[in-house]
């Protein structure tokens, strides 16, 4: 007895793992792909960290020198020359507490805002979830932030040891620092990927990013306290989602500044909106950017 022949395979009835088509809608985000490529994310973070300082003599020491020099400059110019208030705190500490989170935010934007243009070669040759690239940039920048953060803690300990009256909110620090970092990272990533998506076709924005970030620092209470701002500008300043984050950071670590739950709530909402919009736009662009970049 011969076996009956298997029925002819009908293409339409088969299961398929992947469908490639022109446009899969705005919200088909393939976020599960991101999880599958988590090892790649880790490799990128590690590469960014290792590769930057290969063949430099001082290596990661550069992470210290950069913020130290910036803080020193601020101290001389804003405190020494312009005599801006530092809420009664030692200027060095005040500026360091402002620039540490700000630098992280700024670095996150600048490093992610050129994702498509600088990775065009890589993206043109192979597929992986493109979001891995900006995500890894934001995470590897965290290492730089960590070193500056240690610097801040060291400086704080030194001033406390000297008997300078500073009152850090230790409980708040432990509870809220991760949230603040998450907000910084989320906002930096969100703005960065929106910019990078828009620059694939129109390069104009790249010119804007660098000095835009610089200008934004002055629209955020980094080198001055919010308390010093005249009330007529205050509303506008508080619209800036970075304001309450920086202020919260300073009030936790140095005990002075305006800590406001409603401000942080507003910032979190903005971060959420910007980040989601960023992911959606980024996802939209990654499918066709090779044709325009």
């Amino acid at each position: 007895m011969s076996q009956p022949a298997p029925p002819p395979v009908e293409t339409e009835d088969l299961e398929w793992d992947l469908e490639i088509r022109a446009s899969t809608g705005w919200f088909n985000l393939h976020l599960q792909d991101l999880w599958r490529y988590r090892d790649l994310l880790r490799m990128f973070v590690w590469r960014d960290f290792v590769a930057v300082y290969k063949q430099t003599i001082l290596g990661p020491v550069w992470f210290f020198i950069q913020p130290l020099l910036t803080t020193a400059t601020f101290t001389i110019i804003f405190s020494g020359v312009a005599k801006l208030s530092t809420d009664g705190l030692p200027p060095l500490l005040f500026y360091l507490a402002g620039t540490t989170p700000w630098n992280y935010f700024a670095a996150a934007i600048t490093k992610t805002s050129n994702t498509f243009v600088t990775n065009a070669n890589l993206f043109g040759k192979i597929y992986f979830p493109r979001l891995v690239t900006p995500l890894s940039a934001v995470i590897s920048t965290l290492i730089q932030f960590g070193i500056q953060f240690l610097l801040l803690l060291g400086m704080l300990a030194w001033y406390l040891f000297q008997g300078v009256p500073i009152h850090p909110d230790w409980g708040g620090i432990l509870l809220l620092t991760p949230l603040l970092i998450l907000l910084l990272a989320g906002l930096g990533l969100g703005v960065g990927i929106i910019v990078s998506s828009l620059t694939t076709k129109y390069r104009d924005l790249t010119f804007l990013v660098n000095f835009g970030v610089q200008l934004a620092m002055y629209a955020t209470p980094v080198v001055y306290p919010l308390s010093m701002v005249p009330s007529k500008y205050r509303f506008w300043l508080e619209l800036n989602p970075m304001t309450s984050i920086i202020e919260a950071f300073r009030s936790l670590y140095l005990g002075v500044g305006t800590f406001s739950w409603s401000g942080l709530g507003y910032s979190s909402l903005v971060v959420l909106v910007v980040l989601s919009a960023g992911v959606v736009i980024f996802n939209r662009v990654e499918k066709s950017f090779m044709d325009t970049v």
């Binding site: 088969l14 992947l18 490639i20 022109a22 090892d39 880790r42 590469r47 590769a51 890589l122 499918k287």
Partner: protein, 437 residues
């Protein structure tokens, strides 16, 4: 029964010609406005076919071109398919769409199983990192997990032959070495479907042989392979089926030999059997006309492909239109795919054809004479009664693909050597090997 693992339906890709500049914004807005009103993309409608030789008139609106238009095909599991075509035929675009680097303008592709593409070897290599670090990095980019790479590390290092340089930054590697390392990583991918661009065109002979062996392995493991190349010899020896793209369209989807021949003859007719008397131009003057030509196996059946070990014959039919005191003789001109002459042959002391009428000549080419690859055959008829007079000489009238079935010849004829055998001919010669006492 194997099932289809790749199914392309009506795949098209539109590209914009010219610079992306200020005009782009206007086009985008116009396109968006059409879309909002539910109209068709105004630029797709006027797009040109992919024919880059035709220049658009200066001053006309920036134009769009179809890099691919309405491509349909299926690939079954375990198929090894060659994709061939001239520069700009759309091969790379098709590869990019398949590897999800860019998306099609319309149509859809469905894929079953993990698909991995190698459009370039060493994508994402970081020059400052060591060989070992780059294996991990490159592997991760290709979609391998860290544990998977660790498990395969020894095999990868062994395959690349770079063990001694594993902890040296890749920038100190010779270009050949980094390519070997990169291919080693890529070839250890476990994907069910592999899409490979001409990455084999690099490395020395020994390494190419290794790569070829690896690709054969992939095929024999029942994995699916899509292979894009300009190297017709490689395509012939690796693939049973080939897809010929021409100006963005799918021209042929058949057996490899036919597609390869069609590639060489720009797709005009069946190049191994031509009825010249049915063409609208007359081939021949001075008393002789070419009627028909064919490449046939020994049973007289026209064929596109000949086993390299087997004899085949060239048959030509012609008409003699005048009396001649000395019979005109037919001649065949065999050239290789670079246009270099391999030989010319004609019947010695030919006595047939002194009176007008139709004649047929058959020339037998022995087996084990030509190398593998594509050969072109010119057909001619020459009178020698009143000085030399060429009635016709149709160059490249026919072509034939000589095929070396590696799976059969590898062990005996090739003594296990799987690489390319150089030369336009590969005669089987008498050898005597003995031990010196």
């Amino acid at each position: 029964m194997s099932r289809p693992v790749i199914h392309l339906e009506d795949i098209s890709k539109l590209y914009r010609l010219g610079q992306v500049s200020t005009g782009t914004l206007a086009h985008d807005l116009n396109r968006w406005w059409h879309r909002v009103r539910g109209r068709e993309d105004p630029y797709a409608r006027i797009a040109l076919d992919n024919d880059r030789t035709r220049k658009t008139s200066p001053g006309s609106a920036p134009s769009y071109a179809w890099a691919l238009k309405n491509i349909n095909f299926k690939v079954n599991q375990g198929d090894v398919v060659g994709i061939i075509g001239r520069n700009g035929a759309g091969k790379s675009t098709l590869l990019k769409i398949l590897s999800r680097v860019t998306s099609p303008t319309s149509g859809r592709i469905r894929v079953k199983g993990r698909i991995a593409s190698l459009l370039e070897v060493g994508t994402g290599f970081h020059q400052d990192l060591t060989g070992r670090e780059n294996i991990y990095l490159n592997g991760a980019i290709l979609g391998m997990g860290r544990r998977e790479i660790t498990r395969k590390l020894d095999a990868i290092v062994d395959f690349s032959g770079c063990a001694a340089y594993l902890d040296t930054p890749v920038k100190r590697y010779s270009s050949g070495m980094s390519v070997r390392l990169a291919f080693a990583v890529a070839s250890h991918l476990d994907a069910e479907i592999l899409v490979i661009d001409e990455v084999l065109a690099v490395g020395d002979g020994e390494f190419q042989k290794k790569c070829l062996g690896k690709m054969n392995d992939v095929a024999s493991q029942g994995r699916t392979l899509l292979f894009v190349s300009h190297n017709m010899g490689l395509v012939s020896s690796l693939c049973k089926r080939a897809i010929l793209l021409e100006e963005g369209g799918l021209r042929l989807d058949t057996g490899t030999s036919e597609a390869v021949l069609s590639y060489y003859t720009h797709g005009k007719g069946t190049p191994f059997h031509v009825r010249f008397d049915e063409l609208n131009r007359r081939i021949g003057s001075n008393g002789g006309i070419l009627l028909e030509g064919a490449v046939e196996d020994m049973s007289g059946k026209p064929c596109a492909e000949v086993d390299i070990r087997k004899p085949f014959q060239i048959r030509m039919r012609y008409r003699v239109e005048r009396e001649a005191s000395r019979a005109p003789f037919p001649n065949v001109h065999v050239t290789d795919n670079t246009g270099a002459y391999v030989f010319v042959s004609f019947p010695p002391g030919n006595e047939v054809g002194k009176t007008p009428g139709e004649y047929e000549a058959v020339c037998q080419i022995p087996g084990n004479l030509l190398n593998d690859g594509t050969y072109f055959i010119g057909l001619g008829l020459t009178f020698m009664d009143k000085g030399m007079q060429v009635a016709f000489l149709e160059k490249d009238a026919l072509c034939v693909n000589l095929h070396d079935p590696l799976e059969e010849t590898l062990d005996h004829e090739r003594n296990g050597f799987s690489g390319t055998m150089p030369g336009t001919v590969r005669p089987s010669l008498d050898w005597q090997v003995r031990q010196q006492l």
